[in-house]
Amino acid sequence: MKKQLSLLLVITLVGALLAGCGKNGNSSSEGAENKEQEEGGYYTLEELAVEYPQAMDKPNIMPTKVKPDTPVRIAILGYATNPYWVGLQETGEVVKNTLENVVEGAEVDWIIIGEDFAAQKHIATLETAIAKQYDVILTPVVDDGVVPMLEKAMSQGITIGTYVAESPGVKETDRFALFGQDVDNSGKEAGKFLNEKLGGKGKIGFITGSFGVTSFEQRMEGAKSELDPAIEILGPYENSDQAEKSYSITKDMVTAAPDLNAVYVVSGGVHGACRAIEELGLEDQVAVVGFDLTSENIENLEKGTMAATVADSAFAQLFDLAMASYNYEVTGEETPQKEMWTELFVITPENLSEYASN
């Protein structure tokens, strides 16, 4: 009996010791981890010395100071269709410099998908990125046809983040986060501006890049939802993102409707519409509304050949997404929401100086 009691006591003591050590060990490692986090924290904008293009482009998310064991490999996919994407590519360079040379925690590659929004090209680019076994792939998604490839990437443990816009099917996946423009809302902002400008009546010509591209369709539908029923819509007509086609379509629309009040371009190539209106001397009659704060749009706003552009901070959305996905890979930190919408700005000739300067 004594022996059994002793044995029980020893077992209990050993068990208690082991449990205590383990807990202490965990506490030690947690403590070490907390201490590391406290010592780490996040970089500041000043420490990173990030140069952002315009005042509205100030980024919000900073990278963690916790160092990963091996560099996080990040691929940023982008298009080359118009100057908006040139700006994003420059943002990609800033992200690369920040994470590689300042933070020294990642390897970043910018990969061009193509010069048009064809889903097949996007799929091929994603396949290549998956084969190269990146840890993170950041990409815009304009076509649900790409979703199966995104799911394939995620099934292989690759973190997928989307920026600029994503087609509806992507939301059903397990992607990390979307940092982008709520294209439906951006269309609504444009629609509100147009409705107010026209006083709830008149004619608007719609120009899209390509039929069937989800983000273009959402911009058009978003705008239509804000327009008074008395407003007549001409089109939409395709311009393939080309200024020359916007130019000729706009001239034809003015012929069809000499009392045309506005031209709404949801894709690239709005410069052509501005040029047509300028040539016809109709700046006071026809309001041209487009998207993005490109150098051409700034010039057209200054000249008065463009009435408004709906813009967001392309720089901030990609920079913030890149930093958030880097933090997720290093510390497991998630974003507050799965959809992080960038602020939208309706920029007119009157308020241009607030946005087009750093």
Binding site: A80, V86, Q242, A243, D252, A256, P258, H271, R275
Partner: protein
């Protein structure tokens, strides 16, 4: 009466007749349906848009008659437009820009031709490859930006001689020149001979390879001119300039009566074809019809043209 009947038969037998008739019918229809169609401004706008297609379609006609095809014309159009902008930004005077752009077009097309003729490669594949190369080059050169082009030469794209756009004036002057070249000169006869039966042409002493290279070079130069017009209209050129235009250009040739098998074709028909396509596009906007049906309409016109041409050829053969 007999003379009238014979004249009528002669007109109907013309290669360009189906496209001419279609254009006239479309004009009548649109002038009834849209009060603004026959306005001078609208007709000149339409002509200005058709001029670029018409110019390059004339060159493409030479290539098609010679028995080949050039699918890179759209990209070449854009590339030449971009190069015009680059040269202007480098401070080149208008005359230098004009000569350089025409040479760039001619050289690009001649490279394709040399590969086709010397290495006996399929024109479809070679020009498809050239199209990708030129598209890529445009991306590399522009970096995705729209390059400004404000040379005095840009007036070709947006200026007017009275009420007529300079582009349209150029088109008709060159139409006359190339019509004479194709129909009235030994060179033109050699182009037809090369396309009809290359072997027989070679045996009879025609240097078919040289003929084809010249045809491609003509197309390239006209792409250069078209690029100047296109960039001049919007005072800029970008990575997407001209992309996709090859569809309309080849379509204009086919609609105008040029066959894809070689040996038959019409410069005048190609220009009529370009105006027919331009009128269709204009009509869709004027009548506010669904633009997605425009492609259906264009495709239908092409198929109809080929059917009519085939029926005509069979009736001549069977008497």
């Amino acid at each position: 009466m007999e003379n009238v009947r014979k004249s009528g038969q002669k007109i109907i037998k013309m290669r360009e007749f189906p496209s001419e008739a279609a254009l006239i019918a479309l004009f009548i229809l649109l002038s009834i349906l849209s009060p603004n169609f026959l306005g001078v401004n609208n007709l000149m706008n339409m002509a200005k848009q058709a001029a670029v297609i018409g110019l390059v379609a004339m060159g493409e006609t030479f290539v098609l008659i010679s028995g080949e095809v050039d699918l890179s014309v759209g990209a070449m159009l854009g590339f030449c437009g971009v190069m015009a902008a680059v040269l202007w930004q480098a401070g080149m005077p208008p005359a230098v820009i004009l000569i350089c752009v025409l040479c760039i077009g001619a050289i690009s097309a001649s490279i394709s031709a040399l590969l086709i003729v010397r290495l006996k490669l399929a024109a479809f594949a070679v020009t498809l490859g050239m199209m990708s190369i030129l598209k890529g080059a445009m991306l590399v050169i522009t970096g995705g930006f729209q390059l400004k082009y404000e040379s005095p030469l840009a007036v070709l794209g947006h200026g007017y001689l009275g009420k007529v756009p300079y582009g349209v004036v150029l088109l008709f002057i060159l139409l006359i020149c190339f019509y004479i070249l194709l129909k009235k000169t030994p060179f033109g006869r050699r182009v037809f001979a090369t396309g009809s039966n290359a072997t027989a042409a070679r045996i009879s002493g025609i240097s078919t390879g040289k003929i084809k290279i010249i045809c491609f070079a003509i197309t390239g130069m006209l792409c250069g001119l078209g690029g100047l017009l296109m960039s001049g209209s919007v005072l800029s050129a970008g990575a997407s300039t001209g992309i996709g235009y090859e569809n309309d250009i080849v379509a204009a040739c086919v609609i105008g009566g040029t066959t894809l098998k070689g040996g038959e074709g019409s410069i005048v028909g190609a220009v009529i074809g370009s105006f027919l396509l331009g009128t269709v596009k204009n009509g869709f906007v004027l009548l506010n019809l669904g633009a997605s049906w425009q492609l259906v309409a264009t495709g239908s016109i092409i198929v109809l043209s080929i059917i009519i041409d085939s029926i005509k050829n069979k009736s001549y053969t069977t008497g």
